[in-house]
C-alpha cells in the first residue's frame, strides 16, 4: 500500500539573497558558504574615523597595497563557514585525541633515545611560540583585511594556530611527565637559544608589518612554507632514526592541517597575482625578501637538528617552495 502524505505546495519567490544572486549570475539556490560570506562586510558610509588610526576607515581597502576589483574573488576552496569549519576541526582533533591515548597506552615516548628527547625539547616544543606568533598574524589579517572571504578564513586560521600551539604544549607536558617543566625549557630556547634567534627576530619583525597582505605572504606562504616541511618532514624523518615514532603520530594534525591550509593560501595568492601586474610585482617582491630572510634564519635551527644534512634539507624546502610560488604566478 502506498501512503500519500498530504502537503501543501508553496512556491518560493526567490532562491537566494539579491547580492548573492548578482554574484552567481542568476537567482539560483546558493550554498551556505556563499550566503554566509558574500558581501557581509559593510563597505561604505562609515560614520567616524578610528581614534586608533584616523588615516583609514575601520574597514578600508587601503590597509594593503594590493588592489582588487572584487575582494570576494578570494573564495575559500574549502568553502568554510563557521559550521563546516568547527565540524571539520572537531573531527580532525578526535584523531589527535586518539593518538595521544594510543601513545600513552603504549608509553611510546619512552622509546625515544634520551639525547633525541632533549632535541625534541630544543626543536619541536619551542614551535608553540612560533604558532602563537602565527596566531597573532592571522588575527591581524582578520582585523585589517577586507571582505568576509578573507576575514572569516583568517580568524579560522587564528583558531587553528592556537590549537596547534596547544597540541605542541600537550606533547611538551607529556614528555615532561605531566608537568610544565619542559615548556619552560623550550621557552628558554625560544628566548635565548642561539638556534632560534633568527626565527624569533623574523616573527617579531612580521608582527609590526602594517600591510596585512604582506603579513599573509610572510606568514602563510613563506614562513609556514619553509618551516612545515622542514620540521614535520625533514626533522621528523631524522627523529625516526632515534625512536621518535610517537612524535610523528602526535604531529599528524599539523601535517594534515598544513596540506589543507595550503589549498586556501595558494588560492588567495594565485587570485591576487592574477589580478594585475602591480599585484604580481608586489607579491613577488615580498616573497623574495621574506624567503631570503627566513631561509637564513632557519640555518642554525636546521644545523642543530640535522647537522651535516642541514644544507641539503634547507635547499630542498626552498626549492619546493620556489616551485610552488612559481605555479601561483609569482616572479622569482
Amino acid at each position: 500500500m502506498s501512503i500519500d502524505i498530504k502537503t501543501m505546495n508553496v512556491e518560493p519567490k526567490r532562491h537566494t539573497f539579491a547580492h548573492v544572486a548578482r554574484r552567481l549570475g542568476s537567482d539560483a539556490p546558493a550554498s551556505r558558504y556563499e550566503e554566509g560570506v558574500y558581501d557581509l562586510q559593510a563597505t561604505t558610509h562609515f560614520h567616524y574615523r578610528p581614534l586608533w588610526g584616523p588615516e583609514h576607515w575601520h574597514f578600508d581597502e587601503g590597509r594593503t597595497q594590493i588592489k582588487m576589483s572584487d575582494w570576494y574573488k578570494f573564495k575559500d576552496p574549502r568553502q568554510y563557514y563557521y559550521g563546516t569549519y568547527t565540524i571539520a576541526r572537531a573531527n580532525m582533533h578526535q584523531t589527535t585525541d586518539r593518538n595521544f591515548a594510543f601513545e600513552e597506552k603504549r608509553e611510546m615516548l619512552a622509546n625515544i633515545e634520551p639525547e633525541w628527547r632533549q632535541m625534541i625539547v630544543n626543536y619541536l616544543i619551542p614551535l608553540r611560540h612560533y604558532e602563537w606568533g602565527a596566531n597573532m598574524n592571522a588575527c591581524s589579517i582578520s582585523d585589517a583585511g577586507y571582505g568576509t572571504a578573507i576575514t572569516s578564513a583568517a580568524i579560522f586560521t587564528a583558531g587553528d594556530r592556537l590549537g596547534i600551539a596547544q597540541i605542541l604544549s600537550r606533547i611538551g607536558i607529556s614528555l615532561g611527565n605531566g608537568t610544565g617543566d619542559l615548556l619552560d625549557d623550550a621557552k628558554a630556547q625560544w628566548m635565548d637559544g642561539e638556534a632560534w634567534q633568527g626565527l624569533r627576530k623574523s616573527v617579531e619583525d612580521s608582527l609590526v608589518v602594517k600591510d596585512w597582505f604582506e603579513v599573509l605572504v610572510a606568514q602563510f606562504l613563506v614562513m609556514d612554507g619553509l618551516i612545515y616541511p622542514l620540521v614535520y618532514n625533514h626533522f621528523d624523518s631524522e627523529g625516526q632514526k632515534h625512536g621518535a615514532a610517537a612524535i610523528s603520530i602526535l604531529c599528524e594534525f599539523m601535517v594534515d592541517w598544513n596540506t589543507e591550509h595550503n589549498r586556501w593560501v595558494d588560492a588567495v595568492i594565485k587570485v591576487a597575482a592574477k589580478e594585475s601586474e602591480e599585484n604580481q610585482a608586489l607579491l613577488s617582491n615580498w616573497y623574495g625578501e621574506w624567503r631570503d630572510e627566513i631561509h637564513k634564519a632557519l640555518q642554525p635551527l636546521a644545523a642543530m637538528v640535522l647537522g651535516d644534512g642541514a644544507d641539503s634539507a634547507l635547499a630542498d624546502v626552498k626549492e619546493q617552495l620556489d616551485k610552488r610560488a612559481g605555479k601561483l604566478g609569482l616572479n622569482l
Binding site: 518560493p12 539573497f17 560570506v37 574615523r49 559550521g83 611560540h129 583558531g159 596547544q166 608582527l207
Partner: protein, 507 residues
C-alpha cells in the same frame, strides 16, 4: 626508562600554560610597536598576570562543543525548510520583526567578529586576547547562522533580499550601524566597555530575550533554535564583559573616571538603540511576550540595579540618566512605532495600526501613558485610514546628531512636548534628542561631528536623488513590495492565500 608520571596539573595551571604560557616579551621589536593601540586611552594596567580567565576553553574543546551545536542547529534548519516552517508562524506580520533583525543586527555581529579580532591581536595581555579571539569566532558564527536561519524566510517574504546594501544606506539602519561604528573606532578598552560590558552584560537581555522569546511565542522554530544555540556563547561573552570591567577597576584607581564616562555613554547609546527593540516587542509581535516596560523593569531596573550595587565597591555608580531612561520606557515604543508609521513609505518592513485587542493590551501594560498620550493618535490615524486618507509624513525629519533617530522624543516629565537640545562646535550648530545624546557629543565633538546623517545626505544629493522614488531605488527598496503597510502587501496576499489553501487541504 621513564620516571613515573607526576600528579596532573590542575585545570587553571594547565590552561595558563596552554594560553598565556605561549606569549613572550618581544625584544627584537619594542612591545609598544607590537601593541600600538592599548595605551592611548589612558587606562593603566600595571600587571596583566592578574587577569582572571573568565572561561577556560582550549581550542580542541571549543571545536568539539561548537561543532556539536552547529550539527544540531543545521539539522533543525534543514527540517524547518523541508517542512515549510514558515507556515507555522503566528501571523505573517511577525516576519517584519526578523526583517528588522537581519538588516539591523546581523551586520553588527559581523562587525563584532572583526573588532574582537582587533582586540584578539592588539591587547597586550595574552589571557584577554585568547578570550577575544574566541568571541571573534563566535560573532562570525552568529552572523552566519542568522543569515542561514533567515535565508528560508527570504525565499518567501520581501524585505530581506538586500540586507547588506540596506544596512549601509537606509535612514533608520544608520542607528545600529553608527552605534557599532562608534565602538569599533574607539580604543580597545572603550570597545570592551561598550560591547562586552554595557551591551553584552548590562543590556543584552533586552535584545536577546525579546527577539528569541518573540520567535518562540510566534512559532518561529528556526530563530528560536538559533537563539538557544547562541545562549552558551552569550554566557561566555557576558563573563568576559564583567571580568574586563573588574580588571580595569582593580588595576588602577585612575581608571575609574574613564570607565565611568564610558559606562554612562554606552548605557545611553544602548538605551536609544534598543528603542527599536521596544517597538518590535510592543507593536510588531502578533503574540506578545511582555511589554518593553516590563522587560526594562526586570532586566535593567532589577538585574542592572543589583549589578551596579555589586560594582559600587569599585566606586562605579549607576549610569548617568538611568532614571530618565526608565521614565522613557513608558514612551519609547509608542513614539518609535509612530515614527515608522508616518514614514512607512521609506521603511524596509511593513507597518500597521494596532487592533482593538492590541490597544487594550497596550492600555493594560502602559496604564500611565498609552490611553492618555498614544491611543488618541492611533485612533485618529485609523479614522483617517477609513476615510482613505492614510497619513504619510512627507517632510524629512531632523535627526539627532548622536543616536541618529528622528527627533520625536518628548521631554522628561512632559510627554506633550518634543525635546530639542543643541550645541555649537566650530561655528556649526548640532542638534540632539536628549541631554544624554548632547553630553556624548560634547565629550567627543570631533568624532560625532563626522556622523553620516542620512537626512543630511539626502538633502546634499548623495542618496540617488531628491524625491522618494529616487531614494528608494538607491536603497534597493522595491516600492509597493518591501515598504508601506502590511495591509495590501504581497506578503499579506501570499499569507492569506496559504491560509486559504490550508483550510482547503484540511477539508
Amino acid at each position: 626508562m621513564t620516571p613515573p608520571r607526576k600528579k596532573k596539573m590542575n585545570l587553571k595551571q594547565r590552561y595558563a600554560l596552554m594560553t598565556r604560557g605561549l606569549d613572550w616579551e618581544t625584544s627584537y621589536q619594542k612591545m609598544d610597536d607590537v601593541f600600538p593601540y592599548d595605551t592611548f586611552e589612558g587606562i593603566k594596567i600595571t600587571d596583566w598576570s592578574k587577569w582572571e580567565d573568565p572561561f577556560r576553553l582550549t581550542m580542541d574543546a571549543y571545536w568539539k562543543y561548537q561543532g556539536e551545536k552547529e550539527r544540531k542547529l543545521y539539522a533543525v534548519l534543514d527540517s524547518f525548510a523541508q517542512n515549510n516552517g514558515q507556515l507555522g508562524i503566528s501571523d505573517a506580520r511577525y516576519v517584519n520583526a526578523i526583517k528588522l533583525f537581519l538588516t539591523g543586527v546581523t551586520p553588527l555581529e559581523y562587525q563584532a567578529h572583526r573588532h574582537f579580532a582587533h582586540l584578539g591581536r592588539h591587547i597586550r595581555g595574552a589571557g584577554p586576547r585568547v578570550a577575544a579571539q574566541m568571541q571573534s569566532l563566535d560573532e562570525l558564527r552568529h552572523a552566519q547562522t542568522q543569515i542561514h536561519t533567515i535565508s528560508h524566510y527570504n525565499k518567501y517574504f520581501d524585505g530581506f533580499a538586500e540586507f547588506p546594501h540596506m544596512h549601509d544606506r537606509v535612514w533608520y539602519l544608520s542607528v545600529p550601524k553608527s552605534f557599532f561604528d562608534d565602538a569599533c573606532t574607539a580604543g580597545p578598552f572603550e570597545f570592551f566597555t561598550a560591547i562586552s560590558f554595557a551591551f553584552e552584560y548590562v543590556l543584552t537581555n533586552l535584545l536577546f530575550v525579546p527577539f528569541m522569546s518573540g520567535a518562540a511565542y510566534n512559532g518561529d522554530l528556526a530563530t528560536v533554535t538559533f537563539g538557544f544555540s547562541a545562549q552558551s556563547d552569550e554566557a561566555r561573552h557576558m563573563t568576559l564583559g564583567i571580568e574586563v570591567i573588574k580588571f580595569m577597576l582593580e588595576q588602577h584607581p585612575d581608571n575609574l573616571p574613564i570607565v565611568q564616562k564610558w559606562v554612562d555613554k554606552w548605557f545611553w547609546r544602548g538605551h536609544k538603540m534598543l528603542g527599536l527593540v521596544a517597538m518590535m516587542m510592543d507593536y510588531m509581535l502578533p503574540k506578545r511576550i511582555m511589554s518593553w516596560k516590563e522587560a526594562w523593569e526586570i532586566y535593567f531596573t532589577e538585574a542592572g540595579g543589583a549589578l551596579f550595587e555589586d560594582l559600587s565597591r569599585y566606586g562605579l555608580r549607576v549610569p548617568k540618566y538611568a532614571d530618565i531612561a526608565t521614565e522613557e520606557a513608558e514612551h519609547i515604543s509608542h513614539q518609535n512605532w509612530a515614527i515608522f508609521y508616518q514614514y512607512t513609505q521609506a521603511a524596509g518592513f511593513h507597518t500597521w495600526l494596532p487592533t482593538d485587542e492590541e490597544m487594550a493590551w497596550l492600555s493594560e501594560k502602559y496604564p500611565n501613558t498609552f490611553d492618555k498620550y498614544y491611543r488618541p493618535r492611533f485612533e485618529m490615524w485609523r479614522e483617517m485610514e477609513a476615510k482613505g486618507e492614510r497619513f504619510y509624513n512627507n517632510a524629512l525629519p531632523q535627526l539627532c546628531q548622536t543616536c541618529q533617530i528622528p527627533m520625536g522624543y518628548t521631554e522628561p516629565g512632559d510627554p506633550t512636548k518634543i525635546g530639542f537640545r543643541s550645541t555649537e562646535y566650530k561655528g556649526e550648530r548640532y542638534h540632539f534628542c536628549s541631554d544624554g545624546c548632547k553630553d556624548i557629543f560634547e565629550n567627543e565633538p570631533e568624532k560625532f561631528a563626522q556622523a553620516w546623517l542620512p537626512v543630511h545626505q539626502i538633502f546634499q544629493g548623495n542618496c540617488g536623488g531628491a524625491d522618494l522614488g529616487d531614494v528608494l531605488k538607491w536603497y534597493r527598496m522595491d516600492n509597493g513590495t518591501d515598504n508601506l503597510d502590511y495591509s495590501g502587501s504581497p506578503d499579506q496576499q501570499q499569507w492569506d492565500a496559504w491560509q486559504a489553501a490550508r483550510k482547503k487541504v484540511a477539508g
